[in-house]
Assembly symmetry: C2
Homo-oligomer: 415 residues x 2
């Protein structure tokens, strides 16, 4: 494959996207059900391809976490298939009239949801993203143009073949789900610059991928950045509730973007919260400011830099504040714009925090772990946007559409 | 001003944006009314500054169209002031709850409109954009960070001073409307890369500016591109209506983005339409395909390239098609994604065109000239988006906000 070949592939995906956009919701949903059946039927081939990826990854001495993300088994293939069936059952966003009016000159103006067209997805080594992302794209009437990592290429090729069988079964073009099989850095940059082909590019990966997007992408994109999420325990917090939320947000799944990375404590409750946490989550290493270090011997001194880190591990920073203003200021200064929580029984403090903290999701008396598409009722998500334009927070089917103007007249001209 | 100074300016705007976002709608609206009064009061200073810009522009032998765009007079200053008052009277989009639900675990989930934060606007030599763009930004709870052209710098400085007087009059920080006074190319590139400062960048200008944005911008942006707009006259069109729409779309204001640039004619009506146009708009030069040239001696042969041109002048291309499929295909191949119209009495043809043509706005039996914010009921517009993410078509106050998640619980944790 050459760089010009990626443009040829792109033209095929673009052409296919028109057919998907014109297909009925019933046809698109049936394509996903057929793809789920094809995935189950292809289990043997997929596991064989995945085994080859795993052997190569182990030979390349890739880390244990990456190996775990790469590994497929019967359960994970079944989860991909069920994911497609779940998405097939979601309400179709295409064609929904969002609002409308009749203008004084009689023009009937409506705004209608339509597919974006071609969604580009760049992702790292989890092969399940191939099925999850493609399913959401098709459900919202788009074509999926996928560029995974070299590590998972054999698995991705096998999964894509099954997904395409689902499209073909209902008469949709196979090219509506297209995987870029050349995983060189050069094709990644070329992919990010397919102007006129990719209508929206979504990265699923770490800071290196995000940095590369900012440097190279010339097509529109939505950033799925990291989560440096805070939980603030106010002076008026129910401390039993606060401890439960902190433990859940930090330890239930520390490696994900909606896990708590930093704890902010009002000075009047800091001693008790830190004392209770030493038995409630003894496995978590804490890095604190001077005040926090004064409360417990085992809290290490944090640097200013530490407060900006997304640890994705059993580590958290602790900051002690004198009041709500200082808490809001600290959170806004360090937040990555993902999810920020306050624990309090004080209605005024709660509303101020919810209004003044600038993040995709703000939570009162709930764990940051709830900020994902399934938990919030979207059914599934293609990513979590940490930017402000187009979509903020978990992106479901709606985020894969755009709203356009449909104007009906009886010969009106402008004066 | 140095490049690092632009970052210092940016930090001031960012800080001011937090205050604007927290101000009530009434305060923001009063700021715009005060700014309108200040503009009128500063008429003398503004006209003096504008005269200096005009003298410099004439010395630099800038074209007549550019000079006209640059020129202010009493009427144009009054129009800016009234524009601010109009925007002050629009419904406040900030804080509107878009939708919500209560999850099975009791979490109350709402999605609420909030300001984007700092809106960057890069524009060319029309000083009225300073007031129009700043007014919309403030009305939607944002700060405006403005970077106009060197040609209009004196006018822009004078207009900005008046606008800031309006902010200060209601207790908002002057920095919430900030103009970059260094108009070098270097600061333009630095401006487009103010990551963490500019939440959304909107260009108002021609293809050179758009190209520069694609090449340099690393902050999120919405493209306000050109309009290669088509009018298709179907076999089932009312030809009186078709002629009226074509003449209006082409000649009422040929220099704007929603003017018709290309006429697509069903072969069964082409002869009559072209014949009637020779008297209905004799001043328009037509460039046609072979079939079109066969109908009238004065139609010049168009090259394939001509069909991609946004003339912004009394020129149009003509394409004759055998059927609706060919018309839709031609429009989709050449459209810039702005506004596309069909004239027909055939309901099936109409709905197919409206569904299958991919543009920000599609029109049935109406002039493309209606595609602007005022005509469609937005009250005003900050630009017309020709991309698909975030906003499509005319962008009013809503396009200057984003929707975020507000989640209220009673101690819920995830299992």
């Amino acid at each position: 494959m050459t760089l010009s070949h990626i443009a040829v592939l792109g033209a095929e995906v673009k052409k296919a996207s028109v057919e998907v956009a014109q297909a009925s919701g019933a046809v698109r949903q049936e394509a996903l059900r057929a793809a789920a059946r094809a995935l189950r039927a292809a289990q043997g081939e997929i596991l064989e391809a995945n085994e080859a990826d795993l052997v190569a990854a182990q030979a390349a001495e890739i880390g244990a976490t990456a190996i775990d993300r790469l590994r497929l088994d019967e359960g994970r293939i079944e989860a991909m298939a069920r994911g497609l069936e779940t998405v097939a059952g979601l309400p179709d966003p295409v064609g929904v009239t969002v609002d409308g009016s009749i203008r004084p000159n009689g023009l009937k103006v409506t705004r209608v949801r339509r597919p974006l067209g071609v969604i580009g997805v760049i992702y790292e080594n989890r092969p399940n993203v191939t099925a999850d992302a493609a399913g959401l794209c098709i459900a919202a009437g788009n074509a999926a143009f996928l560029r995974g990592s070299s590590t998972s290429i054999r698995s991705n090729v096998a999964v894509t073949a099954a997904l395409r069988a689902g499209l073909v079964a209902v008469g949709l073009p196979a090219a509506a789900i297209t995987l870029v099989e050349d995983t060189s850095h050069e094709t990644a940059a070329a992919f990010m610059q397919l102007e006129g082909i990719i209508d929206c590019l979504i990265p699923r990966g770490g800071p290196a991928l995000i940095g590369s997007m900012r440097a190279h992408a010339t097509v529109p994109y939505v950033l799925d950045g990291g989560g440096n999420c805070h939980v603030y325990v106010d002076r008026a917090a129910d401390l039993d509730m606060a401890i439960a939320i902190i433990v859940n947000a930090k330890t239930q799944r520390p490696g994900v973007c909606n896990a708590m990375e930093s704890l902010v404590l009002h000075e009047s409750v800091a001693a008790e919260v830190l004392d209770r946490l030493s038995s409630a989550m003894p496995e978590v290493r804490l890095l604190g400011d001077e005040a926090a270090c004064g409360f417990r011997d085992d809290i290490e001194a944090a640097t200013e830099e530490d407060f900006h880190i997304e640890f994705l591990d059993l580590v958290a920073t602790v900051r002690v504040v004198a009041d709500l203003d200082e808490a809001i200021d600290h959170v806004n200064r360090h937040s990555s714009g993902h999810s920020e929580a306050i624990v309090t029984d004080d209605v005024v403090a709660a509303e101020r925090f919810l209004n003044e903290v600038d993040a995709a999701a703000v939570l009162l008396n709930a764990s940051t772990r709830f900020v994902d598409g399934s938990e919030l009722g979207l059914g599934a998500e293609v990513g979590i946007s940490t930017q402000k334009i187009h979509a903020r927070g978990p992106m479901g089917l709606e985020a894969l559409t755009s709203i356009r103007w449909v104007i009906r007249g009886e010969g009106q001209t402008r004066t």
